[in-house]
Amino acid sequence: MSIEAREARQPWILLSPALTAVTLLLFVPLMFIVVYSFWLRSAVGADTMGFHIDNWQRALTDPFYRYILWNTLKIAAITTVLCALLGYPAAYFIARSRGNKLVLLVLLMLPFWISYIIRTMSWINILGTSGALNSALMSLGITSEPIRMLYNEYTVILGLVHFLLPFMVLNVFVSLDGIDTNLEDAANSLGATKWQAFTEVTLPLSLPGLAAGALLCFVLAAGTYITPLILGGPRDAMFANLVYEAIITQLNWPMGSALSLLLLFVLGLLVLVYNRYLGMSQLTKGLG
């Protein structure tokens, strides 16, 4: 074989293990559950193969599923907006600070490394009936009985914001850090106020980072089932909880396939819209 041919083959040899892995462990399984979602669950024994639209019909028309889907998107949207409101100023502070930016950033990213379940559970220590907040309120004499603050939609959102905020901060920071500060100075010298320079120059230039952070927050929030299980009440299920219920509790795998594909389509649509306007590269920037 010629040297050129060997040279040309080399990258494919290097890529083949990883490509085989994603093909066999992701793409083929995804196609498989598309097929599986048309099967039917049997009361005993193996699921019935075939082409039945029953699962899809139920997934798309059942008012309960529709309500949960709507509720999931609502919770994800609120979480995303809160992450942006909390994260943008913090990222701006880090990017424009005169101190050691890297230390400030790493400090804010530290919780990102701390176990998700520990961070989620930690709110029970704070908001629970014998948590920090209730003991403080009671020892100050503001209430005599502990207030029930946990296990509702607000605490689910709180847990999600706490979990996802680092993603937002990192993405916004990366795009703010890339903006030449001279641009703001130029705007100022041309007569813009500080606020104007921010809204007319810096904010628009940082929108790609904000959008990338928002997409990550939204998709990750909309796909979670652990946070509602730990911090939510029985009525605060999100769409991924339905999937978990169908697969793990009811063992209705065909229905579970249909529900997870529905979630994939809804969130995939969002990613496609994003990709159409902003491109994927912004998303991977934050991790580098």
Binding site: L14, A18, L263
Partner: protein, 261 residues
């Protein structure tokens, strides 16, 4: 004035991020037997209880084993793929990158369901093997992103110099490329281990009954009530997942400085 306000706001955000974690650590040293406020005194008894709790120690062993195997496999696959992506101009590069990143673009629940159902169909039911496959595919994109970012910084001409001085491609790889690659490999492996160690979303779908990892063990314990042991476990996890990478980074820096000076 404006800047002071932003600073105050940022400090509050930092507080929001750290407060719950601080409370976990604080309570893990609390002597009170309810794992809640008020603090009644300093004690290490919950760490002792942790050490003597067989279920938790078993979960720890499972998690560490799973994390190590995941890190080895995922880093190997990831480093090879990154080398191809950074070092060669290949047709369809963007498509390939998107394909390799796809496991984190798909919601983890969906990935979990698809993998469980497909491998079960092939005869691999809920098992350690399934867990390992799942963790590898889920951590692979992170490894590739991290390693690629590091690889870009390695200059090609050092290798070319070695080759032109008569080293074989194999010699060049092992004595030039690999040592230069080590920080990237280490970063990728650390990332894979930490993500695997922390994963619960997929793990709950893939784990066989009776096998628990640390996060699923905590999850199972939470269903009963929040015991002080969980806080102690949380503190240990915080030290492991934050302390170790920081220590690693510090050591790497010292080594780099020694080599430089």
């Amino acid at each position: 004035m404006g800047w002071q306000l932003i600073r105050l706001y940022a400090i509050l955000v930092y507080g929001f991020m750290f407060l719950p974690v601080a409370v976990v650590v604080l309570l893990s040293f609390n002597d009170s037997q309810f794992g809640a406020f008020p603090m009644t005194g300093f004690s290490l008894r919950w760490f002792e209880a942790l050490w003597n709790n067989d279920a938790i120690m078993r979960a720890f062993r499972t998690s560490i084993m799973l994390g190590l195997l995941t890190a080895v496999i995922s880093t190997t696959l990831g480093v090879l793929a990154s080398l191809a992506l950074v070092r060669y101009s290949i047709p369809g590069r963007n498509l390939i990158t998107t394909m390799l990143i796809a496991p984190i673009l798909v919601p983890e629940v969906v990935l979990a369901v698809a993998l469980l159902l497909f491998l079960n169909f092939l005869g691999i039911g809920k098992s350690f093997t399934l867990l390992l496959f799942g963790h590898v595919i889920f951590t692979l994109p992170f490894v590739i992103l991290v390693v690629q970012a590091r690889l870009v910084g390695i200059r090609r001409d050092v290798e070319e110099a070695a080759l032109s001085l008569g080293a074989s491609p194999r010699q060049t790889f092992f004595s030039i490329t690999l040592p230069l690659l080590m920080p990237a490999v280490a970063a990728g492996a650390l990332f894979a281990f930490t993500i695997s160690f922390d994963d619960i979303t997929g793990t709950l779908f893939w784990k066989p009954g009776g096998v628990e990892t640390v996060p699923t063990q905590i999850f199972a314990m939470l269903r009963h009530s929040i015991s002080p042991e969980i806080n102690a476990l949380g503190t240990v996890m915080i030290v492991l997942t934050v302390g170790l990478p920081l220590l690693g980074a510090a050591l790497a820096r010292r080594m780099a400085m020694k080599r430089g000076g």
